[in-house]
Amino acid sequence: MENLAFQGLVGLSLAMYLWLIAAGLTIVFGVLGILNFAHGSLFMLGAYFAFTFYGLFGINFWLSILLSLIGVALVGLIMERFFLRHIYHLDVPYQLLLTFGFILIFDDAVKMTWGGVFMIPPMPEFFTGAIPIFGRPFPIYNLFIIGAGIGVAIGLWLILERTWWGRIIRASASDREMAGAIGVNIPILFTTVFMFGAALAALGGALSTPVRVVAPGIGGAVIIQAFVVTVIGGLGNLKGAFVGAVIVGVLTAYGILLFPIFELFIIFVVMAVVLLLKPEGLFGE
């Protein structure tokens, strides 16, 4: 019993990374109507930046995370301003293809900059160690991740519900024309939203560095999971993304514990079932 609970907790920390990726992906889709294939690569960039500032330049952990967020947001700015902006009028395939092109570009770009070898960022001292939960040591860092994930969730909720910008986002997510009509500057909105989404992905990447390795190609690996999460929750639906992430994360953890053979399989089965029975996602309206 303890073991199940413990496994669930581990799955939860796994889920939080997924949530951070999916959040940006789903917001961008909701507002810009673009499914950003390269979103996983932004996650990867976030990890690389954080690693560079913290691991190489030895900048303070929190500061380097912040810097990486800014850095990736700027990359997002360039992506949206100079490329995505030209394809809003095109069909889904072109959007997927363009962003897919960016996956390739980013993968090689980091390879050129940091070399093809994987990097191992150090773990900040104050995070090492574990505290006993369910009679077994549970890493402080994972607890922190869970906290951070929930924190981000609340933060996003506040932003969307309480701020002027948030209201505009929700408005244009539900009806773009209407938003334009009430005098929202759509281009600027899109740019800011995309940068915001990129920053969220970067946060996920940056937070993953202390426990994972930084290597080219991670983007392509995480993006499919992110798709699964967002689809289960409902494309463009933030609450859904959170629940979806928890479902996928915990399910993966239990899959590994209970039926190791099907781990990969389960996730896609869930996705397919959701798509077939409720294509707009568990929380889509």
Binding site: P122, A130, R136, V211, A253, I256
Partner: protein
């Protein structure tokens, strides 16, 4: 349909542009050697080490006047760890670039894809890293694809030697496996289990989990096996994934609860570098065991010392096993060619079968039956040694190769 024409008339021209003309003669001015390995992604270091090792050897040989007067030329391509890509590379290097000899290739899937194509390409291929026993036991011994040779030790090293060592740890009774979810992981695990069971009927294997390529978070796997309170953990994920696995295990306090952790390819230089900090702080409490297909601090011979020195002078890094195997592979080619004075595949195969050759990693003997190079690689604990800037595999247990290599006729592995 109409546009098709215009397109294809263009492709007509381009096709001419890239049309190749390669025809290997007896002993040309330049002997072309084609290599490939993964030089991108989380496992990129293995390919790069292959480039370093082979380049070093080729430069030495050329500096000494080449092989019977003809110089060596190297071309190295990225296998991307994909069978299809590797096959395409091999075809390109032989049929377009005109390679006379092939070497390299990491990961089981890739070598199993390349192997069967070799007879058609009519080239000798020395595999420097791929570990699946099927390459030699199935393709060479059963199917009789003689073009295949393997200079690196297969899964025997990852699994059997581990069993030989840990059979002598009576207090370790409960084993759990965290393995790659592909053939390499599965065969290693089952070989380890069957061998250990033979010597120690009392051990039980309490848990096993499987991690596919690109697993970024091993915490669920680790906590799943820890739920069964094992004494020892047998882990096969390699390169970056090995490092991740171990760091996350540390976070979960695994090393306070177990007695040994076997990290199959933990002796690989990139993994050692990745764990430097933790080892320096003795986070693993001397419970981390590892081996590799060659470790730079063994054998303690002048030849090996010299090789390591040369390598460090040239690349400012310690040679990984894929570097040593590639380095030696080139010298195997040299000896074979000097013996046969030709590049004819059939003759080369004859020459390499049964060849005994001294390498940095010690003497290798190519078994004629399965074309597997037989040589000894010890295993030991991953420790910090002031003499080296990075952790090493120390407190070595040396078991003669003949004692832990599988021998023909190969009994099937469950």
């Amino acid at each position: 349909m109409k546009k098709l024409i215009v397109i294809f008339s263009v492709c007509l021209l381009v096709t001419f542009a890239i049309a190749p003309y390669a025809n290997p003669g007896p002993l040309p001015k330049v002997i072309k050697i084609g290599g490939q390995g993964v030089t991108s992604g989380a496992h990129a270091d293995y390919g790069r080490q292959m480039i370093m090792g082979s380049t070093l050897a080729i430069d030495e040989i050329n500096a000494a006047g080449g092989i019977l007067g003809s110089k060596l030329e190297l071309k190295f391509m990225d296998s991307e760890l994909k069978g299809a890509v590797a096959v395409k590379n091999a075809r390109y290097m032989v049929q377009d670039w005109g390679a006379h000899l092939l070497f390299g290739v990491d990961s089981s899937g890739v070598c199993m894809a390349v192997g069967p194509v070799l007879p058609e390409l009519d080239r000798v291929h020395i595999f420097c890293h791929a570990a699946t026993e099927k390459l030699t036991e199935k393709l060479v011994y059963e199917k009789g694809i003689k073009n295949i040779f393997r200079i690196s030790v297969p899964v025997y090293q990852d699994s059997i030697i581990a069993a030989m060592i840990f059979k002598d740890f009576p207090e370790i009774k409960r084993w759990a496996g965290i393995n790659c979810d592909y053939e390499y992981g599965r065969t290693s695990w089952s070989l380890f289990k069957s061998t250990l069971k033979k010597y120690r009927p009392d051990v039980e294997f309490v848990a096993e989990v499987w991690a596919p390529f690109w697993t970024t978070d091993f915490s669920p796997h680790i906590s799943a096996v820890m739920a069964k309170k094992p004494d020892g953990i047998f882990a096969t994920p390699w390169a970056g994934e090995a490092v991740m696995n171990l760091r996350q295990a540390l976070l979960l306090g695994v090393f306070d609860q177990i007695q040994v952790w076997w990290q199959a390819m933990g002796g690989s230089v990139d993994v050692l570098e990745g764990l430097a900090r933790e080892v320096a702080k003795d986070k693993f409490q001397g419970k981390l065991w590892a081996t590799a297909r060659y470790i730079h601090n063994w054998p303690d011979t002048p030849a090996n010392k010299a090789f390591v020195e040369k390598f460090r002078k040239r690349w400012t890094r310690y040679p990984n096993y894929s570097a040593e195997t590639s380095y030696s592979a080139i010298y195997v080619f040299k000896e074979a060619i000097e013996k046969t004075k030709s590049l004819e595949t059939a003759k080369l195969i004859k020459a390499i079968e049964g060849m005994k050759i001294a390498c940095p990693g010690g003497e290798r003997y190519f078994r004629p039956e399965d074309h597997q190079a037989v040589y000894t690689v010890p295993a030991g604990k991953v420790i910090h040694d002031p003499a080296y800037p990075l952790p090493i595999v120390g407190e070595l247990k040396v078991i003669p190769a003949k004692d832990y290599y599988r021998k023909p006729p190969f009994p099937p592995i469950k």
